[in-house]
């Protein structure tokens, strides 16, 4: 398997096939003489923008701490939770608890649901 082509930037689905972002980064453990291991999936703006430019990464991180869901530490999902790697990458975690969709929930609660017709988080009659 090739990581950059087949894993990185793929879409993440939780155990109910809820979309929970993309694989924005991968955490690699290296030791003196041990074989390098990719142990975690990283999700979120800070990781993402750091790929464009370190400064953007820092800014994104600072804003993540101040605004919205106010999450300071990066979202990391252990590779052991990966179920399948195919068209998308499916996990056996629940998106809500993984912290990957904090913003989705925050915006839904604080903005969208306050606009008439915004509906509520539980599934709607699909209008």
């Amino acid at each position: 398997m090739h990581v950059v082509r087949d894993v990185l930037d793929k879409k993440l689905l939780d155990h109910e096939d809820e979309s929970m972002g993309r694989i924005d980064g991968l955490v690699m453990q290296i030791g003196k003489s041990s074989q390098p291991r990719i142990t975690h999936i990283a999700v979120g703006g800070a990781t993402l923008w750091a790929r464009v430019h370190p400064t953007l990464g820092r800014i994104a991180r600072r804003m993540a701490g101040k605004w919205g869901p106010k999450r300071r530490e990066k979202v990391r999902i252990p590779w052991s939770r990966v179920r399948t790697v195919g068209r998308d990458v499916t996990l056996d975690v629940e998106a809500k608890h993984a912290g990957a969709i904090d913003w989705e929930i925050w915006i839904a609660r604080h903005i969208v649901e306050r606009i008439p017709g915004g509906g509520h988080e539980e599934p709607d009659d699909g209008d």
């Binding site: 990581v3 030791g31 291991r37 990781t47 252990p78 052991s80």
Partner: protein, 102 residues
């Protein structure tokens, strides 16, 4: 030590003699129960083409230009890569000892 893999992509690699080898483009991994084991690093422009799975597009052009191989892709086994300073990766071997994967 922990490294953000995505930041290694596109990093220039030098060999023991400090000669420029190319850029890291791809990682060949073995999937395990709770981790991906990095087997080898693919370095060089052809590695990029492979990463974009663009050979079907590039090969005809290559043939048209009747170029034997545009670039060489180096496949560096994990033992030969020294990432103690992630910002400038270094090979533990010399460039000439690398084997071409294609």
């Amino acid at each position: 030590m922990e490294i953000e893999l995505e930041l290694l992509i596109g990093r220039k690699v030098r060999d023991v003699d400090g000669a420029n080898v190319g850029r890291i483009e791809e990682f060949r991994v073995e999937r395990q129960q709770n981790a991906l084991l990095v087997e080898a690093y693919l370095i060089g422009a052809s590695a990029l083409i492979h990463r974009l799975s663009a050979w079907t597009l590039v090969r005809p052009i290559q043939r048209f230009l009747s170029a034997k191989s545009i670039y060489s892709v180096y496949e560096v086994p994990w033992q030969d890569m020294d990432l103690t300073d992630p910002h400038n990766p270094v090979l533990r071997t010399a460039k000439r000892d690398l084997r071409h994967s294609r």
